[in-house]
């Protein structure tokens, strides 16, 4: 099975006006194929930085990232990314957005159409193919974005606070959807959030990060079965929620 | 292909009105197409830019063109006009003589032949005036409004000025300067189409005789072509101020040289003062000599 991500001694600095700032101290992480990993941490701790490096959007300052043993050198269709702001192309219909991802496979026209429709159906939007993103609600947009990314059948799925802009109810239904799809496709997922409940509800492994410089300060393996209800976390993971919140709290005082 | 001529109906060139009306060009096998421009400068720009084969204008653009080494030459001098005048609005200035202009605001188009006329005139009379620049069509409104005390407009505007000012119309004709109304041709045209040029000049010479033989017919024709801008009466009245004869003579060369000197004096154009020899290449008399040898009186 493929989709193994190895992050080896990865460190990243940004060069600004006042010299270089280290966004990420040397970090080692391995994501086993088919696992669901959450990164949680206060704002500015480097969550997006790790994710962008794995996506190939920014170059490592030191260290390297291997996917299935191959070093990454830029964005590649084997690694799908889902953005908080959806990043749908507003000038294309939902269906065309999905077809965009299929173009590189050079499929015959009919097959491309039907595969795109299948992907939309998978996220429950079989009827919305002809709509433009501007005509969809936030939740529907994010579903189209998921369908589009999944159409390319990436072995690794990176999600940067994908449901951060959605309201609480919609977010819950997106969790269900995501788990259902993941159950079927078994891609390796790296999921960035700063909502503890979201991490606890979804992930196999939660890495807690801290800032200045960005680094992983704690790792928890969550082996409770899914679905997990937020109101039962106290019994499912005794003390864990409070312990993670405790790690995050100091950063809050300056907010 | 038609021969294009930058020309608009005006009282200075009856030869062209006659040549067109009597079909002299057509008879000579020429298809003359006229294109109108608001000023001689623009006609000259069109000529230098290769838009027209020949252009009618006063002599100053030719002087500038010669100093700036433009590809053209003067091929005929159709008329000399000594009636250039100063016009005043009696409401602000009851002008009787040139001396009344002292200290006044004189409106004219800077860089036109009347600028040369005025500046030589006031320099000779040792009179100081304030020059106000305005485009030709703006001089009359400016005079009516009192923005300027004296206007020195092109002859085309004289009747309109007389009409608009009515009893307040005042004019002074200082004389001394003759506007040369010339036809210039582009160098490519002179070089590539000598036959057409000869036919064109020959037709003008033919018309010349008719203009001088019976002014009344030519006057009627000119007034008609001007479509109301000039009445027959005003055309007739101004007729005597013109010397209509298609020629090329040394007075033109002398004028070009003096104008060139004036332009260089005032720093408008850089370079050495022109001489008769340096201006001579910009007069192409071959065609006129063929049509009427006596009309060419050049050293």
């Amino acid at each position: 099975m493929s989709g193994r991500v190895e992050i080896q001694d990865l460190s990243i600095s940004f060069h600004g006006r006042g010299g270089a700032t280290q966004a990420l101290a040397p970090t080692n992480l391995t994501l086993e194929p088919g696992t669901f990993t959450a990164l949680i941490g206060p704002s500015g701790c480097g969550k997006s930085t790790i994710l962008n490096a794995v996506a190939g959007f920014i170059a490592p300052t030191a260290g390297k990232i291997l996917i299935d043993g191959k070093r990454i050198g830029g964005p590649n269709p084997g690694v799908g990314v889902i953005f908080q702001q959806y990043a749908l192309f507003p000038w294309l219909t939902a269906l065309s957005n999905v077809k965009f991802a299929l173009k590189r496979l050079s499929l015959p026209k009919g097959e491309m159409e039907s595969r795109a429709m299948d992907c939309l159906a998978e996220v429950g939007l079989a009827d919305a193919g002809g709509k433009y993103p501007g005509q969809l609600s936030g939740g529907m947009k994010q579903r189209v974005a998921i369908a589009r990314t999944l159409a390319g059948e990436p072995g690794v799925l990176l999600m940067d606070e994908p449901f951060g802009a959605l309201d609480a109810q919609t977010r819950l239904s997106m969790h269900e959807l995501l788990l259902r799809i993941w159950d079927r496709r078994k891609a390796t997922i790296l999921f960035v959030t700063h909502d503890v409940d979201e991490a606890l509800a979804l992930a196999d492994i939660v890495h807690v990060m801290a800032s200045a410089p960005g680094r992983v300060i704690a790792t928890h393996v969550l082996d409770a079965p899914r679905p997990r209800a937020a109101s039962k976390f106290d019994t499912t993971f005794p003390g864990l929620r409070e312990s993670i919140l405790g790690l995050l709290r100091p950063a809050v005082s300056t907010q | 292909a038609p021969v294009t001529l930058a020309w608009a109906p005006n009282p200075q060139t009856p030869q062209i009105d006659v040549a067109i009306a009597r079909g002299f060009f057509r008879d000579a096998g020429l298809d003359v197409k006229t294109v109108s421009f608001p000023t001689g400068r623009e006609a000259f720009e069109a000529l230098a830019g290769g838009q027209v084969d020949m252009a009618f204008m006063a002599e100053l653009p030719a002087t500038i063109g010669a100093l700036r080494a433009q590809p053209f030459a003067v091929v005929a001098d159709l008329s000399r006009y000594r009636g250039s005048r100063l016009i005043a609005n009696a409401k602000t200035l009851d002008m009787k003589t040139t001396a009344d202009a002292a200290g006044k605001k004189v409106g004219l188009t800077i860089g036109a032949n009347l600028d040369y006329f005025t500046s030589r005139l006031f320099a000779a009379a040792k009179i100081n005036v304030t020059i106000v620049n305005a485009s030709p069509p703006d001089l009359l409104p400016a005079l009516l409004r009192g923005d300027i005390d004296i206007a020195v407009p092109f002859p085309t505007f004289y009747p309109a000025a007389a009409k608009a000012l009515g009893e307040n119309y005042r004019e002074v004709l200082p004389g001394g300067y003759a506007v040369h109304n010339i036809v210039a041709a582009s160098s490519p045209f002179i070089k590539m189409k000598p036959a057409e040029l000869e036919k064109f000049i020959a037709a003008l010479v033919k018309a010349d005789a008719i203009v001088r033989a019976g002014p009344a017919a030519a006057q009627a024709l000119v007034a008609e072509n001007l479509k109301g801008a000039f009445t027959l009466e005003s055309v007739t009245k101004m007729w005597g101020e013109y010397d209509f004869h298609t020629e090329l003579a040394d007075d033109l060369t002398d004028l070009l040289v003096d104008q060139g000197a004036w332009l260089i004096e005032k720093g408008a154009v850089k370079g050495a003062a022109p001489t008769a020899a340096s201006m001579r290449p910009y007069i192409a008399e071959a065609a006129l000599r063929k049509a009427d040898a006596s009309a060419v009186r050049l050293k």
């Binding site: 702001q85 192309f89 | 838009q51």
Partner: protein, 266 residues
């Protein structure tokens, strides 16, 4: 200052105002006409300085009946259209180039930035020396202005294409040319369209400048002619024609643009 009796904030337009909306332009024009007529009837200014509306109307009718209106209109529109087409095409092409390629941007931007404030009217003398007094110089002047505006807007549109679209496109495996055609250009399209709208307005402006010299037809030439003969009535008729033409063209371009860039609605 805000209306006096709006008890509930936020409902800025009153019902009356909303009901009258379709009639608004008529109302406005009626008022302008009324004020204009009154000023003229009062006799404060002479007819030759400020002709009353009916004289302008008569002048317009005269222009229409002699066929001059139609032929001027055709001449001006065709000049504007050709100049606009050349300028807009070059502007978009250059903008696409400078907006996405650092080298071109470095070399061309400062130069074009210094060109931008040079108005077309100032270029008339150069245009005449270069292209003569015929149609060439007119096309040059119109396309010059249109070019700079369209370039500027296209360039900015290309520069500010949100990174996220580019990232999305790349991690979906789109090759560069597909990214360029189906992501970058559409993302910049609203800006390009903005440039085109401005370009239409400026084309009209340069048209008048261009027709001052060496034209024998066209609205600009006719204005110049009216000036020659101090025909203020005609000037007013022509100015109004120009205004309506400009407002109309802007409306048309806006309508077409909205349809093309349908996803970007204010």
């Amino acid at each position: 200052m805000p209306g006096p009796a709006a008890v509930f904030a936020g409902s800025r337009d009153s019902w009356v105002a909303r009901a009258l909306e379709p009639l608004t332009p008529l109302l406005s024009f009626a008022m302008v006409l009324a004020v204009w007529s009154l000023v003229c009837l009062s006799g404060i200014v002479s007819d030759s300085v400020f002709p009353p509306p009916w004289q302008a109307w008569e002048a317009a009718v005269e222009l229409y009946q002699t066929g001059v209106l139609a032929s001027d209109f055709a001449a001006s529109i065709s000049r504007a259209a050709i100049g606009f087409a050349i300028g807009a095409t070059l502007g978009i092409a250059t903008g696409l180039l400078t907006g996405r390629t650092a080298l071109f941007s470095l070399l061309l931007n400062p130069f074009l930035r210094v060109m931008r404030p040079i108005p077309a009217i100032a270029l008339v003398p150069v245009a005449i020396v270069w292209f003569g007094i015929g149609e060439g110089s007119k096309y040059f002047l119109i396309s010059y202005t249109v070019f700079l505006t369209v370039w500027f807007n296209t360039h900015h549109g290309m520069e500010y294409v949100p990174d996220i679209y580019i990232r999305a496109s790349r991690c979906l495996g789109a090759p560069r040319w597909r990214e360029f055609c189906t992501v970058t250009i559409p993302a910049a399209a609203p800006h390009i369209l903005g440039g085109i709208r401005l370009g239409v307005a400026l084309a009209l402006l340069s048209l008048v400048a261009a027709e001052l010299s060496g034209a024998t037809s066209g609205i600009g030439y006719r204005l110049q002619e009216a000036r020659q003969y101090i025909r203020t009535d005609r000037m007013f008729a022509l100015l109004i024609e120009l205004g309506l033409l400009g407002a109309g063209l802007d409306w048309i371009v806006n309508q077409i643009g909205r349809r093309i860039v349908h996803w970007e609605q204010a």
